[in-house]
């Protein structure tokens, strides 16, 4: 069955595991100001999410009333009413306390009415699907993505109505090597992720060890391309044409038309300014081949899982350590903004049971008490996912990219599921970066009966700019 749903994600407010909303900035005075502004946006987004939550609650109340009316009609017609399920509030979801996706399969227990989570398609659940291993990535991936490079400390905050997850990434350039033919670079990036508490503080490793809800990732990337620096580029036709055009514009006596003295960006910027058509041939002289890259990453995370113990009619909590690794490689074209990246991801995590409401009568009263949460303790799950992603930005006549796409195909070998994501960037931030757009996601999975089912979702995103280096 092909289900269609539209998920509108609020600008500035982020959803867990949907890092397209992350606000990214190197640490500096400007970035601190930007971070403050971003936090304001996040607060605004949280407020709007809370309003949306309240609206959902009102809809739920209406559904309850409609259900009661229907039961009354059935009773009047002499037909037995079905067991009255009590619809609980939508479950919360935090990075450390995972809420599973509802499969829609009700699991009953003798004497106790049990229904699946009625809000299986909440924003949080949908966002988790967007960010899950299969559906993978995000419109643009910040600290969670495999290919990551940041010269300064990169702080990101991902927030929803229930969560505030902070991550800090730092890249160390192990070595820049140029041997006269090839430019090679090795980079090591460390990323730490943790839940923020109500005071805004987070702890990755505490006295008790690895704190719950936190993760650490180490990734290595190697870049290689051909670099030609033999004095020909500075004497190329492109540079001469740009200098001639500069002299034509500023006058033959201008002393600002010497390309190698252009302080506001250097020679290639000078050529782009005065002879835009020539910048491509200039760069081709220096960087005639595409950029190859490959790498691997390892990560570990500690998470707490709450679940319902049916026998004890109680909510329990357990901590588990999950880990994973990713091998990846690809190519960045030497012309324009185009890249292809392939990856293989192996992961061992813990999967929660279906979300249920478990109710029992309160002794001596006509009322019932209910518990909401995953059904049973989490089970260990291993996933092996291969993915292929293509990124391309379309440049317009002025050479500025104004439209970009990043389709990605992912396949889960174990569950025989696959997905296609298609983020389309078309919203700029005024500085030449594309930061927003729409993302479509089609996911094809096999259910418990062996039947294939497809779901399509679409959402808006705003956040980290389009990039071919930071996937």
């Amino acid at each position: 069955m092909l289900c269609r749903s539209i998920v509108v994600l609020l600008a500035g407010a982020s959803i867990p595991a949907f890092p397209a909303h992350a606000q990214t900035a190197p640490v500096s005075a400007d970035s601190v100001a930007a971070a403050h502004a971003a936090l304001k946006d996040v607060d605004e987004g949280l407020r709007k999410l809370a309003e949306a939550q309240a609206a959902l609650d009102r809809v739920r109340e209406d559904l309850r009333a409609a259900q009661a009316s229907a039961e009354a009609v059935l009773a009047a017609q002499g037909q037995p009413a079905p067991a009255a399920p009590v619809v609980a509030s939508p479950p919360s979801q935090t990075a450390g306390d995972h809420t599973p996706r509802s499969t829609g399969a009700a699991k009953g227990m003798t004497g106790l009415p049990v229904i699946p989570d009625a809000q299986g398609e909440t924003l949080s659940a949908k966002a988790k699907e967007f960010g899950s291993g299969l559906a993978g990535s995000v419109a643009n991936g910040p600290n969670g993505s495999p290919l990551k490079s940041t010269g300064a400390v990169d702080f990101q905050l991902i927030a929803s109505s229930k969560d505030k997850v902070a991550s800090v990434a730092f890249t160390v350039n192990l070595k820049n090597r140029y041997d006269g033919i090839h430019l090679r670079s090795d980079q090591l990036t460390a990323t730490a992720t943790g839940n923020l508490d109500d005071n805004g503080s987070s702890q990755v490793v505490g006295l008790g060890g690895f704190s719950s809800g936190t993760g650490i990732k180490i990734s290595y990337v190697h870049y290689q391309t051909k670099l030609v620096l033999n004095g020909t580029a500075i004497n190329s036709e492109s540079v001469k044409a740009a200098e001639a055009e500069c002299l034509r514009e500023l006058g033959p006596s201008s002393d600002k038309c010497v390309a190698d003295q252009y302080g506001d960006g250097g020679i290639s910027i000078f050529v782009q300014k005065y002879d835009p058509q020539g910048v491509r041939s200039l760069i081709n002289l220096v960087l005639p081949k595409p950029i190859w890259f490959y790498g691997l990453s390892f990560d570990g995370n500690q998470a707490s899982y709450k679940f319902i113990n049916r026998a004890e009619f109680a909510t329990k909590k357990v901590d588990h350590f999950g880990f994973g690794g990713t091998l990846f490689g690809g190519i960045i074209a030497n012309e324009g903004l185009t890249s292809v990246i392939g990856s293989f991801d192996y992961r061992r995590n813990y999967n929660e049971g279906d979300q249920i409401n478990l109710c029992q009568p309160l002794e001596g009263t006509p009322q019932t008490q209910c518990l909401t949460g995953p059904d049973g303790a989490p089970t260990r799950e291993t996933t092996k996912i291969a993915a292929l992603e293509f990124r391309h930005a379309f440049k317009f006549a002025d050479g500025v990219p104004r439209l970009a796409i990043a389709p990605k195909f992912s396949a889960d070998f174990d569950s025989k599921a696959w997905s296609i994501e298609m983020p389309i960037y078309f919203v700029g931030d005024g500085t030449g970066k594309l930061r927003g757009g729409i993302q479509g996601l089609y996911k094809n999975t096999v259910d418990k009966n062996g039947q294939r089912a497809g779901t399509f979702s679409a959402g808006l995103f705003v956040g980290v700019p389009f990039s071919v280096f930071k996937q």
Binding site: N173, D179, I267, G336, A393, F469
Partner: protein, 120 residues
């Protein structure tokens, strides 16, 4: 520009000697330090001085200039569109030349820049 072209020609004619002099200290050369700073969205870069690649450390490399001869320091960068960095050349801690901002053109993943170095 004509003078610059002549300098290039002269450098090229004497390339083997110049390359040797650019890479290693001799009695007739002056040691200079090339430093890269203020990197924004730059993934990697490579330098060449007088036609010879510059061995690179963490964020700096040593070059050896011939006094009285204008020699070309050039570099290529890869990284994000509009990425930039600052390049400074010093002699015993004193600035000899500087490119305050060397950038990758909009819509590209690579950039090229160069400047002539003259020391006495």
């Amino acid at each position: 520009m004509k003078q610059a072209a002549k300098d290039i020609e002269r450098t090229n004619r004497k390339a083997p000697l110049r390359k040797h002099q650019a890479m290693f200290a001799t009695e007739s050369t002056i040691a200079l330090v090339v430093t890269v700073s203020d990197e924004v969205d730059i993934t990697s870069y490579g330098f060449s001085f007088a036609g010879a690649p510059v061995p690179w450390g963490d964020d700096s490399g040593n070059i050896y200039a011939t006094p009285g001869v204008k020699q070309l320091l050039e570099w290529g960068m890869i990284g994000e569109s509009d990425g930039s960095m600052k390049v400074t050349v010093t002699r015993d801690g004193v600035q000899v030349a500087q490119r305050p901002k060397s950038a990758i053109p909009t819509g590209e993943t690579g950039g090229y820049d160069a400047m002539y170095i003259l020391v006495n």
